[in-house]
């Protein structure tokens, strides 16, 4: 079992705490001049996303988490599992709905995604920052529309619903920022 000592702590280091994989968000070395040294860390649970603070005595060891990020190509899903493939090794990875999370709203076949693997299995799926998707349904958006606030809802080919400007129509391709879930612009074929 690989371990890290506190003096190896840095942002991004992946460690095991109470059976869950965490990433270190912040690491602070704290030491009164002639006293016990501590590491105060902020860590994010890679399963739940929750951030907590912990203190370790300097010199203590923690278990390393076998966590790594890999870029995989999305192949397809069967409603329960999402299938990805490594573009060079052709190795296949299967992610459940929990791991795919929000990415399900944005990914279509052949999109390259960043998958976080824990012990070799997909833990989280990050879609590309920007995706180009076709609008499958939206109202014509005539002026005088009472929805107000600017824009109208549009359903995309993945089933996601985003707010788009009134001039954008069904069957058009649009670019969406997956981090905010917002319309960015019209898009050409990609």
């Amino acid at each position: 079992m690989a371990t890290y000592s506190t003096n190896e702590f840095r942002g991004g280091l992946k460690i095991m705490l109470d059976g869950d994989p965490y990433t270190i968000v912040e690491n602070e070395f704290v030491k009164p001049g002639k006293g016990q040294a501590f590491n105060r860390v902020k860590v994010r649970n890679l399963k739940t996303g929750r951030v907590i603070e912990k203190t370790f005595r300097s010199g203590e060891s923690v278990e390393a988490a076998d966590v790594m990020e890999v870029d995989l190509q999305y192949l397809y899903n069967d409603g329960e599992t999402w299938h990805f493939m490594h573009p060079e090794s052709y190795e296949q990875y299967i992610a459940d709905a929990n791991a795919v999370g929000d990415a399900v709203k944005w990914i279509k076949d052949q999109d390259m995604c960043t998958i976080t693997l824990w012990n070799g299995a997909p833990l989280t799926v990050d879609p590309p920052n920007f995706v180009t998707l076709k609008i499958t349904e939206t109202d014509p958006g005539l002026k005088g529309d009472t929805s107000g606030g600017g824009g109208k809802p549009a359903t995309l080919e993945t089933g996601a619903v985003v707010r788009v400007p009134l001039f954008v129509q069904t069957d058009e391709l649009i670019k969406v920022d997956t981090r905010s879930g917002e319309y960015v612009s019209r898009a050409k074929e990609d």
Partner: protein
């Protein structure tokens, strides 16, 4: 050595390097005008501090024609050497030198750092606090009043707990109550350090405070307070919540100093730390007689950080550890 093309440059800006030069000059003026002699003592020594909280760098040395390698230590502070000078009759002395502490790296720590250390014959720690305040006020003019609070009073005020008369369990409960999540077993001093750093230090932000009367177990080389031997005649200056200086009414009794060293060596052994050679020359100097004095060690890099409102110690160092 990674990315030399990217890491050959200094971490501090040239403006900060100039500010450091001005600070050093200011420090020299301060002491020269008070008749305090500047001294230089070795960074390398055959002995090291047995303090279990300090890790000395050991340096392998060839000794003349000997086949065997022996080790010298880089100083964690110039204290022992300067006290030998005091015993030799040097009078009031100061030094700006490098201190080396392995395993200490962070926003406020670089394993190699600059220490200003000075000793005043015939001063007690109260009078020395006045002088520390004068020096720091001259470098940080906006500082305002330097207040004083005892270690015990601080714990009572903030945590409603008497650090000199509480149990480890009570300290652990306080830590939990303040949202500190720490695993494992700590000894009494470690709990006090945990609460001090996590809860009390942040309360010292925005002002200059001398914390005095540290518990006897944290006396280091300070005399015990004859009025309350549960505490030591030791103080720390905190400016804006940052530990800046550590001062003592110096212990000059060789018997008690030797006993403290032995206790430290035993704590090192119990903690599985390597033993270090005791500084017998320092003890011999105490046997010969060191005058009644008070001394203080001040972190020059941190003082410069405060003067320059720098974020990290790297911002005031030409080459912090990773670029050295």
């Amino acid at each position: 050595m990674d990315h030399p093309a990217a890491t050959w440059q200094p971490a501090a800006t040239l403006d900060r390097l100039r500010a450091r030069a001005r600070l050093l000059s200011q420090v020299r003026c301060f002491f020269d005008s008070r008749g305090v002699l500047e001294v230089e003592t070795p960074c390398l020594s055959a002995a090291a501090t047995p303090d279990p909280a300090l890790e000395s760098f050991a340096v392998p040395c060839r000794a003349g024609s000997a086949q065997e390698i022996r080790h010298l230590y880089l100083q964690t502070s110039p204290e022992f050497a300067m006290k030998r000078l005091l015993a030799a009759g040097a009078g009031d002395i100061y030094q700006v030198t490098r201190a080396f502490r392995d395993g200490e790296r962070g926003r406020w720590h670089n394993p190699e750092f600059t220490m200003l250390e000075w000793y005043r014959v015939g001063f007690d720690h109260w009078r020395l606090m006045d002088e520390v305040a004068d020096l720091v006020a001259s470098v940080l003019p906006g500082t305002g009043e330097f207040t004083r609070v005892s270690y015990r009073a601080l714990f009572l005020q903030v945590l409603d707990l008497d650090p000199l008369a509480c149990t480890g369990d009570q300290l652990a409960a306080k830590a939990r109550a303040h949202g500190i999540d720490i695993a494992g077993r700590l000894d009494h001093q470690a709990w006090l350090d945990l609460l001090f750093t996590h809860v009390l230090e942040p309360r010292l932000a925005g002002r200059a405070v001398f914390v005095h009367g540290f518990p006897a177990a944290q006396a280091a080389l300070a005399r015990l307070d004859p009025d309350d031997p549960r505490t030591a005649q030791r103080f720390e200056l905190y400016v804006d919540g940052i530990e800046l200086a550590n001062g003592f009414h110096e212990l000059s009794d060789p018997g008690e100093q030797r006993a403290r060293f032995a206790a430290d060596q035993e704590r090192r052994r119990a903690a599985g730390l390597p033993s270090v050679a005791t500084d017998e020359r320092f003890l011999a100097a105490l046997e010969a007689g060191m005058p009644d004095c008070a001394g203080v060690a001040l972190g020059v890099d941190r003082l410069l950080m405060l003067a320059e409102q720098a974020d990290r110690i790297d911002d005031v160092l030409a080459f912090p550890l990773e670029r050295a």
